[in-house]
Symmetry: C2
Subunit: 499 residues, 2 copies
Amino acid sequence: MTPYEALENSFRDISHLLHVSAVLYWDEATMMPLGGGSARANAMAALAGILHERITAPEIGDLLDQARSSADDLGVWERANLHQMERTWSQNTALPHELVKAIQLAATTCEQTWRACRPSEDWTTVLPKLESLFKLQREVAEYMGEQQGLAPYDALLDSYEEGLRANFVDETFADLKAFLPGFLEKVLERQAQKPPLPLPGPFPLNQQEQLGLKLVQTLGFDFEHGRLDVSHHPFCGGVPDDTRITTRYTEDDFLHALMGSLHETGHALYQQGLPAQWREQPVGEALGMAIHESQSLLMEMQVCRGRSFLNYAAGAVREAFGASADDPVWSGENLHRHYTRVERGYIRVDADEVTYPLHIILRYEIEKQLFSGQLELRDLPDAWDEGMKSLLGLSTAGNLKDGVMQDVHWFGGLFGYFPSYTLGAITAAQLFATARREIDGLSDSIERGDFTPLVGWLRSHVHGQGRLMNADVLVRNVTGEPLTTAAFKSHLQARYLPD
Amino acid sequence: MTPYEALENSFRDISHLLHVSAVLYWDEATMMPLGGGSARANAMAALAGILHERITAPEIGDLLDQARSSADDLGVWERANLHQMERTWSQNTALPHELVKAIQLAATTCEQTWRACRPSEDWTTVLPKLESLFKLQREVAEYMGEQQGLAPYDALLDSYEEGLRANFVDETFADLKAFLPGFLEKVLERQAQKPPLPLPGPFPLNQQEQLGLKLVQTLGFDFEHGRLDVSHHPFCGGVPDDTRITTRYTEDDFLHALMGSLHETGHALYQQGLPAQWREQPVGEALGMAIHESQSLLMEMQVCRGRSFLNYAAGAVREAFGASADDPVWSGENLHRHYTRVERGYIRVDADEVTYPLHIILRYEIEKQLFSGQLELRDLPDAWDEGMKSLLGLSTAGNLKDGVMQDVHWFGGLFGYFPSYTLGAITAAQLFATARREIDGLSDSIERGDFTPLVGWLRSHVHGQGRLMNADVLVRNVTGEPLTTAAFKSHLQARYLPD
C-alpha cells in the first residue's frame, strides 16, 4: 500500500465519523426533546474530540510527508484529494485537542440556550454563553491564523471557503453598498403601483407538506436518499447518500415554507450530486459555503422566484389548495409578484434578494468589529440597531427576537459564515447567466417542470467537481470570468426594474 | 485522582459514545431513507470500532488492576460500578478488534437486507447475509465463552443478563412446556363461549396517535425527555435523558399499535427511571434484557391488559374515536375480552401471553441447535415449520414472512436474546404479585389512571437500582424468593380460568 492509499483508508474512516456527526446534528435540530439537550451536548463534544484525534493522528502527518514527495505520480483527483487532506490536517493540528472539545460543547450549549431564550428575548441568559463561545472561537481563529499566516478573521473565512479573504469581501460589499440603497428606493417606488393580490388562507399543514414534497421532487431531490422534515431553522444536513432537508410551516402562509424547501433543495441537489466515486474522501466533499449557498440561491432566487417556474408551480399550488385556474389570485403572475416583493424588513431569512445583502453587510461589519476588538458582545443589541438604521432605515431597539437574536449562526459558533450567503448570491447569478447561454430552451424546460437540463448542467459543471479546484477557479472555469457583482446586478435590474 | 476516579472519567467518555450509538440506531430504524443504508452501515461499524477501542484501551486494564486492589475503600455503588467496568472490559477484550467492526457491519447489512426481503419472502437473498453474520456471531460467542469459562451459548445468554445460564432456561422452559399446552386447550374452549364484540373501524391514524400519546403519558412517560414515533418493528431506544419509543399503526385496528406503545412505555419508564446520579456510569445502566422485558411486560401484561386499566382506558378510547359510553362494544369489558383473547397464531409479537412462551421456546430450541451444530441455517424454514407444528399445531410451510423471517433478532445478530422475553414475563408476574401485596389500593389507583403509586414502587425497587446487583439477587430482594414460574402460572390461572 502506498502512503497515499493509506491516507485514503484513514480518511475513509474519518468520513464515516463525519456521517455519524451529521446524523447527530440533524437529530438534535429536528427530533431531540428539549430535556435531552445537555446529555446530547456531551455526546457531540465526545464525537468532535474523537474526530479531532483521528484527523490529527501523528501517522497521518507522516503519511502526508511521504505522499507529498511522490505526488507527481498521482492523478489529478488524487492530487486534489491529497491537497484537501493536507488542508484538513493543518486546520486541525492548529488547534489544541481540549479546545476542540470545549468549543463543540460551548457551541451546542449556547445554541440550545438561544433556542430556549429567543421566544422570550432573554438576552441576559444567553449572553454569557455567547461570550464563552466567542472567546473560544477567537482562540480557534488565532490558532488557525497563526498556522496559515493569516489574520484571525481571514482564517475563519478561509475555513468556510478556501482562499476567501476579507479584502475581497470588503471590495464586493462596498460595491453592493454603493448600488443597493438607490436601487432599492426605485424598486419600492415601482412596486407600490402593483401590489400582489392577497392569497386567502388558512393553508392546512398537510396540504402544504404535500405541495412541498411534490415540488422538491420536481427539482430533482432523490427521496430514496433523503427526507424532508420540520425544524426551528430550515437547513440541509445529512450526507450525500442520506440528505436531510427541513422547513417550517405556518397555517396562515405557505409561501415561506415552500420557498424554504426549494432553497434547501438547492443545497441538497449539490450534496446528492457530489462525485459518487469520491464519496468517502475529502476531495468528494462540497467545495465551500459560498458555493453551497450559490446552489441553494441559484434554485431559489434565479429559478424558483422566476416567472417560468412560477407559471409551472401555480398549477401544483392550485391543486394543493383546491383553487381555480380562472382566479387571478392563484396565477403564476400573482405568485411572482409575491415572490419578488421587495420590502425593508427585520428578518434576514425572510428578506428578498434586493435587501438581503444589506442584512449580510450588517452582520459582516459587526463580526469584523468583534474580531478587531472594537465591539464587545454585550453591546451587540445597540450595534445591531445602529447598523439596521443606517443600512435599512429600520430600528430594532427593544426587539431582540427580530434583531440580534434572530439567527442561529453566532449562537452556534459560526462566525465568518455570513459572507457566504451574499457571495453565494452573486455566484448564483453568474453561474445561471452562463447556464442560460449554454442550455438551449432552459426557460421552456423549467416552465414545463423539467429540471433535467439544468440539474444535468449543474451536476457536470459544479456538483460533480467536488473539491477538485477551489471556488475562484471553478467560477472562472465555468463562467469564463472571475467572480464579480455584474451578473447579480444585471439580474436585479432585469427582474425588478425592467424597461 | 484515584484509579477508580480515572476509570469513572473514562467510562463517562464511553457513555457519551454509547449515546451517539443509540441515536444512530434509532435514526436507522425510524428515519433513514432506504438508499442511506450502505453508508450508514459503514458509519455504525466505524463507531462500534471506536467504542471497542476505547473500552479495551490498555490504560483501562491497568487502572482496573489498581482500583481492584483498593476496592475495599469504595462505597457499595462504586464497588458495583467497578464490577460492571470489569465485566465490560473482559467482555470486550475477549474479542479481536476487527471482529467487532466486522460483526457490526454484517449485522447492519443483514438487518437492512431482511427489511427489504421480508415483504417478498426472499429467503435466498437474505440467507447468505445471515450465514456470514451467524459465523461471526459464533466466533464472538466462542471468544467470550473462552474468556469466562462458559459454553459459547451461555456466554451469549450472560451478555444479555449477567449470570443467566442455559440450564436455568432449560428447567424453566420445561416447566412451561409441560403446563402451557393443556392450559391453552382449556382456555380456548372457555373463550369460545364468549367472543369479543368486533370493534368497528377504520381508525384514523392521527386519532390513534393522539390516543397513544395520551395513555403513554398516563403511564408516566416523560415527553420532556423522550418521543413516540413510528418504525417497522416497535422498540425502545435512545438514552435515559432522551428515550425514544416507537410503534406502528394500521387503519383497520388500533388495539395492536396502542398496546405496542404501552409495552414500549414499560421499557421507557425503566430507562427514564435509572439512577440519575449514575447516569454516565456502567452501574447506572439497565440491568439486563430479562429485567428490561419484565418492565415492559409488567406494564403490558400485568397492568394494561387487566380490567382495572382497561376500564380507565375505555374512556380515552371512546373519546378518541367519538364512541358512546352506552355501547357495550366500547366498554372496558369488551376491550378486556379483546386484549385477553388467546389464539394459536403465527406471529410472536402478536401473540397473547399464554401462547407467547411457546413462540420463545421454539426459537430457543432452534438457537441451541444452531450453536451445537445440529442445525444449519439453510434448514431453518423446515425446522421452524416442524417446531410450530409440534408446539402450536400450526404449519408455516411456504409462509416465510410469518415464519422464520418474522423477527428482526437473528437478522440483527441478536442470538441468545429470545429467552429474555419469557424470563421477563415470569419476572413481571412475580414482581407484580409483590407490588399488589405492598401497595395499598393499587387496582383502584390504576382504574383512576393514576400510575404514581406503581411507578414510584418500580422506581425505588427496580429502576433506581441500576446494576447495583444482578437480576437473580434483585428478584430475591424485592420478592423474597428466587425466580420461578409460580406467580406467572397463578396469574394465567386467575385471568384465563377463574373459578
